[in-house]
């Protein structure tokens, strides 16, 4: 029995300490993901708190055939989605994309962070699939499970997303070259 399995078993019996230890390694990664999916850093923190609470509350329904991180991400995706819906209902389109939490958490550099570019060109679901694939190194099967989609849908959309991102990067490079050439 590995440590994660033992911690899950203890947490299922109601041990908060075991659960806290179980999710310790996932918290920062989850928060980083939620920062990309919410409209403010405070919302991302709230979404993280809700995710962990829901995970603990429904831990007994966790099926060990899935990776624990996949299950956690599925809860986080749902929480982020409901939080975005609430934000849209409350403030409509007033949120300025340029000053979102993702932009605030990235140090200024010469090159634009690819996840900001991805946010511009990809829809929410495909963006999440890309994040899980390249930031979390999840398998396509796990991504499909986390998104509640088929494996073939996930494969096709990951490929398309890469092509879109490549095209967007090519466009921005050409713009940069053109602006350099014309001063």
């Amino acid at each position: 029995m590995n440590s994660e399995t033992a911690l899950i078993a203890a947490a299922k019996c109601g041990s908060v300490a075991a659960f806290t230890e179980l999710v310790a390694s996932h918290r920062v990664r989850l928060l980083r993901f939620l920062v990309t999916r919410t409209s403010s850093y405070a919302d991302a923190e709230d979404a993280l708190q809700d995710t962990l609470i829901n995970a603990f509350r429904y831990l007994r329904s966790y099926d060990a055939k899935w990776r624990f991180s996949t299950w956690l991400y599925r809860i986080a995706i749902n929480n982020a989605a409901s939080m975005r819906v609430q934000d849209t209902e409350q403030i409509g389109e007033l949120c300025d994309e340029e000053s979102g939490p993702l932009e605030q958490c990235i140090a200024v550099s010469e090159r634009e962070n690819l996840w900001i570019s991805a946010k511009r060109v990809l829809n929410d679901e495909v963006y999440t699939a890309m994040w899980l694939r390249y930031a979390e190194d999840m398998s396509v099967t796990d991504i499909a499970a986390a998104l509640g989609r088929s494996v073939s849908w996930t494969k096709v959309n990951l490929l398309r997303a890469r092509q879109q991102l490549d095209a967007a990067m090519g466009g921005s490079k050409k713009k940069a070259q053109a602006s350099e050439a014309y001063g």
Partner: protein, 134 residues
């Protein structure tokens, strides 16, 4: 790993976030108050099965007993006797004798005569209905 994948990973890691001590305390406090939901386990479902079987069987047995008691207590109903309808309710056959109108008087007089004939015919029909009791 290709260049794009490498760049995506690096850019993801460059997003600086941290779980603050305040957030950590908030999460711990929330977790302490959470009551775990009971998942649907196989032991739970098998534990309930005998109860459902027992209640279903009791219900079926009670229904059968009630139906039996009702059927045994009551005598068989007598067959309903249907009588043919009385003859007087059958519609009588009327024989109409149409006659061609011959205009021998002025139109107004003819109209009066036709209306008078019509009244007489109505009276005859009424009398016929009275005879048969409708």
């Amino acid at each position: 790993m290709d260049k794009l994948a490498q760049q995506l990973r690096e850019d993801a890691n460059s997003i600086e976030v941290d779980v603050s001590p305040q957030l950590d305390a908030r999460i711990r406090a929330s977790l302490a108050g959470v009551r775990q939901e009971t998942g649907r386990t196989s032991s739970g479902s098998t534990g309930r099965a005998p109860f459902w079987w027992a209640s279903s069987l009791t219900g079926i047995a009670a229904t059968v007993a009630i139906i039996s008691v009702i059927n045994l207590g009551e005598p068989d109903p007598e067959p309903a006797i249907t009588q043919p309808p009385p003859q007087q309710f059958t519609m009588p056959q009327f024989t109409f004798k149409p006659k061609a109108a011959i205009l021998t008087e002025s139109l107004q007089q003819e109209l009066d005569a036709i209306q008078s004939d019509l009244k007489k015919a109505e009276q005859v029909i009424k009398d016929d209905f009275d005879k048969i009791g409708i």
